[in-house]
């Protein structure tokens, strides 16, 4: 793992003092965040704290009015995220899943992942009609990658099923496979464990760890399930009322008095009850 420690120091996301407003409502207030390559970073916070807004700002869905967001890919190219279109940021290497799972329900499980896999294949309309050797090679490469990823998330047997026929946990895994298929540097998971049962949660945690370890993709996740966050994340940011309340390792966060007051205290009792 010496290679990993070598790249560990690298920055992947550098968010500096972003503020996002919708009319008079401030959704994010002066938020700064630093994410290193190869880490599993979690963002937690009570409802309405601005976690999904942060994700949407990182992927170009929202444009913060103030601040900078820099993303650095594995080749060391740095782009400024704010003002870029979502699909360009996705192509640069930022992939995501959604809070309410958003699989393409009219397509099969296989096709869902294939769309992601072929996002880098240069197949245009002309290529699709003529079907020359380059197109066929591109198709074969993305087919192979798709099958590999379906194996990776354990959905190979469901490849020809319609995506909407999957269980909730299955759709979660499908979304992750689709996101990985675009060959990203970092994957943003928005509450991946929401609505899954305890055994699915364990599998999911294992899957997320494998995404990082086996495919060397950094993971940024929003999650409400404290047990999952504490066991998975290496570093945690706590958001409250649109601002950063605290930052640190799981142990530090657990010990932080203001965090316990604002969030963990109520949440952990809920978790137990």
């Amino acid at each position: 793992m010496s290679v990993e420690t070598a790249v560990q120091s690298e920055t992947i996301f550098d968010v500096k003092n972003i503020t996002l407003r919708f009319g008079g409502v401030v959704s994010l207030r002066d938020v700064s965040l630093h994410m290193k390559r190869g880490e599993i970073l979690a963002v937690i916070g009570p409802n309405g704290a601005g976690k999904t807004s942060l994700f949407n700002s990182l992927t170009g869905v929202y444009e913060p009015q103030e601040g900078h967001i820099d993303f650095t890919d594995r080749h060391g190219r740095t782009i400024s995220v704010i003002g870029k279109k979502t699909h360009r940021i996705a192509r640069a290497g930022v992939s995501r899943t959604f809070q309410a799972s958003r699989v393409f329900s009219a397509l099969t499980v296989f096709e869902n992942v294939k769309i992601g896999a072929e996002s880098h294949a240069g197949i245009g309309a002309v290529g699709a009609i003529v079907r020359g050797p380059a197109t066929r090679r591109g198709e074969r490469v993305s087919d192979d990658l798709t099958l590999e990823l379906l194996d990776f998330v354990g959905l190979r047997k469901d490849a020809n099923l319609i995506a909407s026929a999957l269980s909730y946990g299955g759709r979660r895994r499908l979304e992750i496979a689709r996101a990985i298929a675009t060959d990203p540097d970092v994957i943003l998971l928005d509450e991946p464990a929401a609505g899954t049962n305890p055994s699915e949660k364990l599998e999911l945690a294992a899957l997320i760890r494998r995404v990082r370890d086996e495919r060397s993709i950094s993971v940024l996740l929003i999650e409400h399930d404290m047990k999952l966050v504490m066991s998975l994340a290496e570093r945690i940011y706590v958001l409250n009322f649109g601002g950063v309340l605290a930052e640190g390792t799981p142990a530090e966060i657990r010990a932080n008095q203001s965090v316990v007051e604002a969030y963990l205290g109520t949440s952990t009792t809920e978790e137990k009850g």
């Binding site: 992927t59 393409f104 009219a106 769309i115 020809n160 909407s164 298929a181």
Partner: protein, 448 residues
């Protein structure tokens, strides 16, 4: 009263009501202009019959059709569902291909033989003309619009503009418009095909780039406006397009390769074959696109634009592509009908035609290439027949009432169309079952 809530009873009542509405809507022929003999103060039944409920016997026809549909759906629901629900898992890929190949080749072979033989079966010139002009051209239009509406999910209410552009480019290039032809050089009609198709595609791109940033309803209105502009332009620019008269002398197609010469002439049969070739060509191209990366991207954008963007699909690029590709077959339809009929005028390209094309797409099944072709054949042949033979006192003025009623019934019982595309059907199914994954819930990312 609880039995009223039974779905079967509800459906029966709704069918009777639809029948009554359709009967009232269509009314007695000619009643719109002939006042009732006893005036508005006449007896109740006379007044009712003024609206055609009892005056016309057609309510019996409608009720019979309605009850037949009811009986059919009753039996269908009763015996089909267990079978239908189970077909959700698709068989493994290699198996599916084997099944497809054999049955499909047989199907294609039969279809090709029948289509090639049609000029020998239909010997009346009049009907051959109808088949090319009313069916062939409209299949091309419907297939093109299907790319835009069915594949990419963009509601284009001005599609007829591309038809007009194809037809007027033909007239312009062959030098029969008041405007001098391009570079003052007349081009033989057949060679106009690629130019007109490219012109329509270019206009599609030009219209698409600024407008396709709009979503749903807004796009529909912009495209409607575009069609109205094109219609008014060709109708009013007497010095350029010939105004209301258009052009009466578009030459017939001719091909001249030096060693081989062919002239299409006045008969419809050569045009039929030309049309057949191009319908087949466009259908093959659209099928290839549907199952390629482009087609999958269209589905992704149609279903969930935000999710599509998140995996690197540029929605604007693919939407513009859909516009341009859809415009190609519309443009070709314009060339074909200009060459066949020999005259073009603005009445052919009024916005009503856009709606007619849309009806064919919806009727056949949005997104289904074969469904749309079949729908176009079905609707266009029936309308032509009704217009010519006028059974049951049918009048062409009433046509849209019947088509409207047909669409209402279709939407109730077969919302995905005559021959639904597999993808569209799944979309509707999954929406009905889970309420998820539908077109319009994009950007409802709630923050928590």
């Amino acid at each position: 009263m609880t039995f009223v809530r039974l779905p079967q009873v509800k459906r029966l009542v709704s069918i009777v009501l639809v029948t009554a509405v359709v009967t009232l809507m269509t009314g007695e022929s000619g009643n719109a202009t002939t006042p009732p003999t006893t005036g508005p103060h006449g007896a109740f039944f006379e007044r009712v019959s003024y609206f055609g409920l009892f005056g016309a016997r057609r309510w019996m026809v409608f009720l019979t059709i309605g009850l037949l549909v009811y009986g059919f759906t009753f039996l269908y629901e009763r015996y089909m569902p267990p079978v239908r629900r189970k077909v959700r898992t698709v068989t493994a890929l290699p198996m599916r291909l084997v099944q497809k190949r054999t049955s499909r080749f047989a199907m294609y072979a039969v279809a090709i033989v029948i289509l090639l033989a049609i000029p020998h079966i239909v010997t009346q010139t009049y009907w051959m003309y109808l088949i090319v002009e009313q069916v062939g051209v409209w299949i091309l239009l419907a297939e093109g619009l299907n790319v835009v509406v069915g594949f990419a999910g963009l509601l284009d209410l001005g599609y007829v503009a591309f038809y007009a552009i194809g037809a007027y480019t033909t007239a312009w290039m062959t030098g029969v418009l008041p405007a001098p032809p391009f570079l003052h050089h007349v081009i033989p009609t057949l060679w106009v095909i690629p130019i007109a198709v490219l012109a329509a595609m270019a206009v599609g791109v030009m219209l698409g780039i600024p407008t396709l940033r709009l979503r749903g309803d807004y796009l529909a209105i912009v495209t409607l406006g575009f069609a109205l502009i094109v219609d008014d332009y060709v109708g009013n620019q007497n010095g350029i397009t010939g105004g209301g008269e258009g052009s009466l002398q578009v030459p017939h197609f001719a091909i001249d390769l030096g060693f081989w010469h062919y002239h299409w002439g006045i008969g419809p049969v050569p045009y039929y074959y030309l049309c057949l070739i191009f319908v087949a060509l466009f259908m093959v191209i659209f099928t290839l696109l549907e199952h390629s990366r482009v087609g999958r991207s269209w589905v992704a954008i149609r279903e969930d634009e935000v999710a599509a963007e998140s995996i690197g699909i540029n929605p604007l690029k693919y939407k513009v592509m859909a516009f341009a590709i859809g415009a190609a077959s519309g443009g070709f339809a314009g060339v074909l009908s200009a060459g066949l009929i020999g005259n073009i005028n603005p009445t052919m390209f009024q916005y009503q035609a856009s709606i007619n094309i849309l009806i064919l797409v919806i009727f056949g099944g949005m997104g289904s290439i074969w469904g749309v072709a079949l729908g176009a054949v079905f609707v266009q042949l029936i309308t032509s027949y009704m217009d010519n033979y006028q059974p049951w006192g049918f009048q062409i003025n009433d046509l849209y009432m019947y088509i409207g009623a047909l669409l209402i019934v279709m939407m109730i019982f077969r919302p995905a169309g005559l021959m639904p595309s597999r993808r569209r059907k799944r979309e509707i199914q999954s929406f009905e079952e889970t309420g998820e994954g539908h077109l319009d819930d994009v950007l409802t990312v709630d923050d928590s």
